[in-house]
């Protein structure tokens, strides 16, 4: 039970934080069509977060989704540090979207076979949405790989910068063995291998390379509640309205 909760919390927090971050592009996207696409995907992430918090609420008696999203303190968040980083330039936001969404795609893919039914059902439900998210990311990567010298250089730097953070998404939790033995989840290590096997050929086919990274460089901590200075400011902004008027109706 603790093991499943841990899995749900980190997935929900990842989705909420990246959804919030990517929504910061709304209105200032590089072009109208992309503004719409990126915003829609950000909304999808918030939807995934809601669904996951809702499982925590209905299956485990945790607080309701709004309370979980808006009323927890920074150290209670189990999201990876990668997702709280500011949006930066579009190169970074695109690469984060590419790297994280592939991890999410494979995570849900494996969870479709989970023995924990609510997650298996959710995985089937969001399959099509995430399929588009990775299609969007792959298409951009491919296109910018054969773009100008500048687009190539910018994306390669973004990959280099993001890589240790992206590997931090697979930070093992305290209950890995239990999640695996109960057939709830394949575990972070197995997921990381699937992810490397999936993203490496796409990155290379687009003309980029995967940077060499030592285990010490991998940015862990998020899964244990240790965050960069960026999460606190994100949460402050995200909870601004609830903190003024907790009963505000939308």
């Amino acid at each position: 039970m603790e093991a499943t909760k841990e899995l749900l919390y980190k997935m929900a927090d990842d989705a909420l934080i990246i959804g919030h971050r990517n929504s910061e592009w709304t209105g200032i996207g590089p072009m109208l069509e992309e503004d719409l696409a990126f915003s829609s995907m950000a909304q999808d992430k918030i939807g995934h977060a809601f669904a996951l918090y809702n499982i925590l609420h209905t299956a485990f008696g945790e607080a309701d989704p709004d309370t979980l999203a808006f009323k927890r303190s920074e150290k209670d968040f189990r999201s990876a540090q990668f997702l709280e980083l500011p949006i930066g330039e579009y190169d970074f936001s695109l690469i984060r979207h590419f790297l994280f969404d592939h991890a999410e795609h494979l995570r849900y893919d494996s969870l479709a076979q989970s023995t924990f039914q609510p997650l298996a059902q959710l995985a089937k439900k969001v399959k099509g949405e995430i399929k588009y998210h990775v299609m969007h990311a792959d298409t951009f990567l491919k296109q910018l790989g054969k773009g100008s010298e500048e687009s190539h250089a910018r994306l390669q730097s973004a990959i280099n910068y993001s890589w240790p953070y992206a590997l931090g998404v697979f930070e093992p939790g305290a209950h890995e063995a239990e999640l695996i033995s109960t057939g709830t989840f394949i575990g972070e290590e197995a997921l990381k291998d699937l992810w490397l096997a999936r993203v490496t050929p796409i990155i290379e086919a687009a003309g980029f390379s995967v940077p060499a990274t030592t285990q010490e460089q991998v940015v862990y901590g998020g899964r244990k509640g240790f965050h960069s200075e960026h999460l606190a400011s994100l949460l402050a902004e995200m909870t601004e309205v609830t903190n003024i008027d907790i009963d505000a109706e939308w």
Binding site: I28, M31, L32, E33
Partner: protein
């Protein structure tokens, strides 16, 4: 070039200096694609609008959210705007009298048949 001031962040992002070089203003890096939206399998694909994109792949990715993010969608088609052929707008007069040709409306015959059948049925026999 006159200096443009705008509070719209999208305008500021365009880097107006570059427009003079014909980079953004001429959209040389992007072309337009016409988007067709099919609501259900078997139904007609209906023209929905236009997206800017550099390749057909990018056009599809953009069209999916621009024209498929609400309601139902079975399929999205894109075609380069330059691949659409059209009669010239000054040839519109070729269609001027068409609305008068009611005999070409399928409904015209159905109604006509019914009226004739009715007239036959109710006709007072000639003395």
């Amino acid at each position: 070039m006159a200096e443009l001031n705008s509070l719209d962040p999208r305008v500021l992002r365009l880097d107006l200096k570059k427009i003079e070089d014909g980079d953004v203003a001429t959209n040389t890096h992007l072309i337009t694609y016409e988007v067709f939206h099919q609501e259900k399998r078997g139904k007609q694909a209906v023209h929905a609008g236009v997206v800017h994109a550099s390749t057909p792949d990018m056009a599809l990715v953009m069209a999916k959210e621009t024209f498929g993010r609400r309601g139902k969608t079975a399929a999205i088609w894109v075609v380069k705007t330059s691949e659409i052929y059209t009669l010239a707008s000054e040839d519109e007069d070729m269609f001027e009298t068409t609305p008068e040709k009611l005999h070409r409306e399928p409904g015209f015959y159905k109604v006509r048949d019914r009226i004739e059948a009715y007239q036959k049925r109710t006709a007072v026999p000639q003395q």
